[in-house]
Symmetry: C2
Subunit: 267 residues, 2 copies
DNA sequence: CGAAGTGTTGAAAGTGTTCAAACGTGGTGG
DNA sequence: CCACCACGTTTGAACACTTTCAACACTTCG
């Protein structure tokens, strides 16, 4: 039986109707309280170009802003649990979270890691299909599902953007399935590191260094391996001179082409 | 190195503009020619309730019909190849197809099987990401990509339906990933058979019998196993009394609950 | 400084894979 | 009508691989 992180749940979401009026741009410092995203925060959002919000004009963004609440999610906290009814959609603005599915006998799979700019809400189910857990101090923009629906009807741009995003994720899911089904551990890990590097490059100008917010076990459960195999594969990549591991949670890519060639078979 | 089916390609698609006028409801018997879906075929389509077309009103369906061509795809034929530019979207009306990705060294994965009612066109890429091959004599409704785009803008219902469909497929893709990553062969195969049975039940009142249009190798490449393991797993399920195999391509589900319990761990 | 959590490394074991051969079925031609 | 061939599937045995189990190292935090 596997262990779990202590499930520190944030306080239940405030009724969006009770949130303070517009014009409160400074989030409170209280880490475990929900904060209003007042004023014209959204227009200055640093990850707006990465998010679905980029589909909206200035006017439209303000309509979104009026129903959005920025919520902190501290490390280890659970934003949602599998089986619970879905009440909100989220856009991640800071930190990192993981999507976890656990089987009755403890087998675990990490469906994905969620980084700033990612949208959580593309599901056909009324209930959450996985746990959403923060693996770093994070922050999400939260919108009630019902109001999001209304917004989608009002702004065709938004609907179109969501469909585009869903199609991209569908492509990625197929790549992922191919990797899980047919790739060897080295190829899986190489591809994973490259995807992570590409992703981080969008967020900040990280050179050839990739930070790993997740632990080895999370990587293993994401790639369909065991922690031990992931660890061994890391050392193999290091011994081959493809990467360096200055710290546990920091990878330096020494030979991008070599890595790509490894993952190549897989893409 | 693995072998491939002889790649009988259908003749290049006719320019949709050159298709006969409306009012030609009877498809020609010529198996390798493209046929117009004239008249009010769509309104009487037997799988309309399963397809995205169900989102459209009668008027709207006729607009769709005007730009749709029904195309036969004989067994073994390839509807599209990975890497080719995507020029059309398709709705399958008859038969069965497989979506295949092949790696340079011959490793193969079947991303999915496509049955009547399924929509082919939810991708964020300009190029096909997999081969689309008919594993039974099939028929698809073909719409040029550009005209589909226009249609989506005109009919918000359609756009919404596509998003809904994409979300459902996203959910299914995650289930699939979990299965590939963490389930054992018996669990994988049990789940596969149950999904197939559910799917066929929508098409025709097939009792507890499930037909397998695909070969063992296709099942293997879909579940991330080898043909041999699939075969052995079939016999295991048979010896356990969960299924019977009256023919190679026919499965009779003897103990639905037992099968569900096996797959259960996985869903 | 000690303890706990996390990651690494080693040896043994289990499982699916690989390679090889036999089986059964369907189609063809004698 | 039957023999034969081709194809897909099944079965068997040896192998290679990851997993499992266990011990050890490292870092962090109390």
């Amino acid at each position: 039986m596997k262990y779990h992180l202590p499930l520190i749940r944030p306080p239940p979401p405030l009724d969006p109707m009770t949130r303070p009026d517009t014009g409160t741009p400074s989030p409170t410092a209280e880490p475990s309280a929900t904060d209003a995203a007042g004023g014209r925060e959204c227009l200055q959002c640093s990850i707006r170009h990465l998010s679905v919000c980029s589909a909206l004009s200035c006017d439209e963004v303000q309509a979104l802003e009026a129903i959005t609440v920025s919520q902190p999610v501290p490390t280890g906290a659970t934003l949602a649990r599998a089986g619970e009814p879905r009440t909100h959609v989220y856009t991640v603005t800071d930190g990192a979270l993981r999507l976890v599915r656990t089987l009755a006998d403890g087998r675990r799979q990490v469906s994905g890691f969620v980084l700033p700019g990612d949208y959580l809400g593309l599901s056909g189910s009324d209930n959450h299909r996985y746990d959403i857990e923060a693996i770093a101090d994070s922050r999400v923009c939260r919108v009630p599902l019902s109001q999001m629906k209304e917004l989608r009807q009002r702004f065709p741009h938004l609907e179109r953007k969501l469909l585009q995003r869903a199609c991209q994720e569908l492509d990625a899911a197929q790549d992922n399935a191919l990797a899980l089904a047919r790739l060897q551990p080295m190829e899986k890990l190489a591809g994973f590191l490259l995807r992570l590097a590409d992703r981080e490059a969008l967020l900040r100008p990280s050179g050839k260094r990739v930070s790993l917010p997740m632990g080895r076990g999370d990587i293993a459960d994401h790639l369909g391996l065991t922690m031990e195999t992931v660890s061994r594969t890391f050392t193999k990549l290091r011994q081959l001179g493809l990467i360096a591991l200055p710290q546990l949670n920091l990878v330096e890519i020494l030979d991008p082409l070599g890595l790509k060639q490894l993952a190549s078979n897989g893409v």
